[in-house]
Amino acid sequence: MSPRVPGSDLARTTALRLLQWYPRPWRARYEHEMQALIEDMPVGWGQVANLAGAAMREWLSPRAFGWPARSAAGRLQRARLYKFIAFAFFLDGIARIIAARLVNAQFVFSDELQRNISLIFLFLPLIRVAWCLLFHMRRVQHSRLGAFADRHVWVKQISDWEIVAWTVWYLPPMVVRHALPIPDHYGAFMRAVQPFEQLYMVWLSTFVLWQVSARTARIRKVHTAFLNRRKVWPPKVAPL
């Protein structure tokens, strides 16, 4: 066991968490080194403030966006996201067709029906995401549940097909939203935005699902390895 380093444990934990605030390319290159440094040095709240300030500064630096070299893994990752967004648009189109038919058939959407649809179809995927995020906690990883999830990976990881399935799952609330008239109290901005409201919800949910997916984790690993290879480091970027 390594000797105990002086300093506040809470400050150290906060400092380690603050590393997540840095731009991703920065983290890919320096996160492990900075973690080791924070573990070695005595950490106080002054250091935490220093890290928070430095993280903000890096976002303002041209390198925050200039660093990520394009790798095949990075391109694949982006293509996946575009694919899911295109699918969400496709689904929105279907929802509009179904909604138009229901309106023509004089179908009545009661308040209770609307509420139940929202509860079932919007919250269930969010619960699934929260469940997957639970396995990012060290305490859960080392528990029996974590061991079980290691044997049955689908418990803690979302596959691409599951993302597609959850996106389809959103169809009923999308239909309801498109079938309902725009409320009178909505201003010009809300009137312009409202028809796409549900689509934004699907994008957001898809993005969250995509972030916690197993494939994203694997591709990110490959991309990080690419950023760290000797040929591209240090990168040629504009002077600071």
């Binding site: 440094l37 250091q47 890290l51």
Partner: protein, 105 residues
């Protein structure tokens, strides 16, 4: 174009301290931090230290040494050594002038 530490902007001082620390030999982040604390009496923050390291590395004045450990050491490059020498020469001149003026006063 002649490169100087001033091009590091707000990190020129931290950059200078890092170059001085590495003049002795390869060092990792915490060793640099301790060395700088011994030299200047104040410890740079981890954010400032790594911001300066990144900029020095980008300018190829320092370079990482291959290591399996997370504590990756860095060493001075020839270019970095030249930049450090130039800065020390400038400081020496300023110091000489200041000493002369103080003696005259």
């Amino acid at each position: 174009m002649k490169q100087s530490l001033d091009s590091l902007g707000r990190f020129s001082e931290a950059g200078f301290h890092i170059l001085v620390a590495l003049a002795e030999g390869p060092k990792h982040g915490y060793a640099m931090m301790q060395d700088i604390e011994q030299m200047t009496g104040s410890r740079p923050g981890p954010g400032t230290l790594y911001a300066a390291i990144a900029r020095l590395e980008q300018k190829r004045w320092i370079e990482p040494v291959a290591s399996d450990d997370r504590r990756r050491p860095y060493r001075l490059t020839n270019e970095g050594r030249k930049v450090l020498r130039a800065r020390l020469a400038a400081l020496k001149e300023v110091s000489r002038i200041a000493q002369t003026r103080l003696a005259d006063a």
